[in-house]
């Protein structure tokens, strides 16, 4: 009960800062732009070609579900990661920099408890942000192209191709994958959170996290790293696409999410270990 009260306080702080809302605004604008372009003749021609080459009828799959999938596939890593790294990189380091931590440390709360509360707040923010992008993207797509239609999935990098003509089946898969992305992105937040526990500036925690993420993505793209692609964090984080496969491969999914959750726990533990040994002078 007390944990929930503390978590509520952390979330109140998190959502009281304009910086936290920047991501929501940016995604909202980007979704609007994607929809605008999606409705253009040229874009439709490209999508039509893509679907028809795969033996699918354009009218069935040119839908709000397909648009939502595309938005989440393209934007989450490139844009979402910035906001997750920013918020998680700030959560401890910024409070230390501003001196707020001193006020909290005068309270009978352990450092582990404090970090657990902050980590839970960051994880909730990350997850809810992904769900927000999914829901807002879908609602905007419905306004643009209507509710009807199936789901067309093409992700060459992860070798996933699927088509769901039935709306319910497509919506269910999309919802499942949104949960998958939410859990995946918590790993990125965990990385930034760990650096935030170190004796560094909040901006440094954000930049180091994004550097690691982008280096991981770049290296993964090199052809000679192909045999080792499953060792990359971003490859594992992309495992949510497997929720879209026609036949769900649970072992593959469990392996990737076990990897990510194990990494989350390790990053938190490392951050806590460093935080525990730090001196916070008044």
């Amino acid at each position: 009960m007390l944990f929930l009260q503390q978590l509520r306080g952390e979330l109140r702080k998190l959502f009281a800062r304009p910086r936290t809302w920047m991501g929501y605004g940016a995604f909202f604008l980007m979704e609007a732009l994607i929809l605008f372009v999606y409705k253009r003749e040229g874009s439709q021609r490209h999508m039509r070609g893509l679907m028809e080459r795969n033996g699918l009828e354009f009218g069935t799959y040119y839908s709000s579900l397909t648009i939502t999938f595309t938005i989440m596939l393209v934007s989450m890593f490139l844009l979402g990661s910035i906001y997750f790294a920013l918020v998680a990189g700030d959560i401890v380091a910024k409070e230390n920099e501003d001196g707020n931590l001193r006020m909290v440390f005068a309270r009978p709360v352990s450092r582990l408890r404090l970090l657990l509360v902050k980590y839970a707040a960051v994880a909730l923010y990350t997850f809810s942000f992904v769900i927000f992008v999914g829901i807002s993207g879908y609602l905007m797509a419905v306004l643009a192209v209507g509710r009807e239609g199936g789901l067309f999935v093409l992700e060459p990098r992860m070798k996933v191709f699927a088509a769901y003509p039935d709306w319910w089946e497509g919506a269910w898969r999309l919802a499942l994958s949104a949960v998958g992305i939410g859990v995946s992105m918590i790993t990125l937040s965990s990385l930034a959170f760990m650096f935030s526990c170190f004796r560094i500036k909040p901006a440094a925690a954000t930049i180091i996290t994004l550097t690691i993420l982008f280096v991981d993505m770049i290296l993964q793209g090199f052809p000679f790293f192909k045999p080792y692609e499953s060792c990359f964090i971003t490859w594992r984080m992309s495992a949510w696409v497997f929720f879209m496969e026609t036949h769900l491969s649970w072992p593959k999914l469990v392996e990737s999410y076990a990897f990510l959750i194990g990494l989350d726990v390790s990053l938190f533990t490392l951050g806590w270990a460093v935080f525990q040994t730090r001196d916070f002078k008044t």
């Binding site: 009281a16 001196g99 909290v104 309270r107 009978p108 001196d279 008044t282």
Partner: protein
């Protein structure tokens, strides 16, 4: 109530505290003095568990901070110089969040405390709109909400105007009268420490160089500000009377010595006594003597 024993801490090669011990009895106000970097804030940091000592321990109400920080701090309130609140939230929300880490928020107790520190009208305003004095009042409110038995004050009156300083001092003294609160007061304002504290410790380079009761400052041998002409001859007579020159223009006579006897012998020797005024030895005098071996007039 609060006891530190053998506190030792170094930051890298720089020693910050060197086997510092002190004990504050229940209901006592204990002052901690020292130059910047003397180890005052490190001591406070160790008491609050923010700084890990290399050696020694602190107990609050018999509970070790190092062994059971949460239990030890459950009846402790603290105020820092320039308290850093969440500026983008209201004072009320700040109290709610901070009390979440002190066993829970009780709105009626919070209202009562806010009223007591005189912040009721502005408690719903964002902290960024507060003056320094209002922030200190909010700091006081947050420190009192857990109903502490021990209050740790780290330069709490720095930056306050004279009215604010007096209000703060009266408030703390009233708390001690009403609740028998134990207070550790860390300040550069020697006058404030003298007015508030029962006992003080003076730190220099992490070592305790003095500890004593404020009342005891005035029990020492009497001091006098003097002006004699000529000086050389007068000095010999001062020494003959058992006195000593503390600084130019200030002498100390042996306890119980009558200054009139000295004046008489000076006049008889043809020395003009232009002034001889008793001086009440202040904490500042003591502090300067310890740190510089001289008074500020030096």
């Amino acid at each position: 109530m609060l006891e530190a024993s053998g506190l030792t801490k170094s930051f890298g090669a720089k020693p910050a505290l060197d086997h510092f011990s002190f004990k504050v009895e229940r209901g006592e106000i204990y002052g901690l003095l020292g130059h910047n970097g003397a180890g005052k804030s490190t001591t406070l940091g160790i008491i609050l568990g923010m700084v890990m000592p290399d050696g020694g321990d602190v107990t609050i109400g018999g509970v070790s901070v190092l062994k059971d920080r949460s239990q030890a701090l459950c009846k402790v309130g603290a105020i820092f110089e320039a308290p850093a609140f969440y500026d983008y939230l209201s004072g009320w929300e700040n109290l709610r969040i901070l009390m979440g880490y002190s066993g829970g928020f009780d709105p009626s107790a919070a209202r009562e405390t806010v009223e007591r520190v005189g912040l009721t009208k502005r408690i719903q305003s964002k902290v960024r709109t507060y003056s320094h004095g209002m922030r200190q009042r909010l700091a006081l409110a947050q420190s009192l909400l857990p109903e502490p038995e021990v209050l740790l004050l780290d330069e709490p009156t720095d930056g306050l105007d004279p009215e604010g300083i007096k209000w703060f001092r009266d408030f703390i003294l009233q708390l001690r009268r009403e609740r028998g609160m134990t207070v550790l007061f860390n300040s550069h304002l020697l006058g404030e420490v003298e007015l508030m504290c029962d006992r003080v410790a003076i730190l220099r380079d992490g070592k305790r160089v003095f500890e004593g009761a404020i009342g005891g400052l005035h029990d020492d041998a009497p001091l006098f500000d003097v002006e004699f002409d000529p000086w050389d001859g007068a000095l010999a007579l001062v020494h003959a009377a058992g006195g000593e020159l503390i600084t130019p223009g200030r002498i100390r006579l042996p306890e119980g010595a009558d200054p009139a006897v000295l004046v008489e012998s000076l006049v008889r020797s043809g020395i003009r006594v232009r002034a001889l005024a008793p001086v009440r030895r202040s904490l500042e005098d003591l502090y300067m003597e310890i740190h510089h071996g001289a008074t500020p007039s030096d």
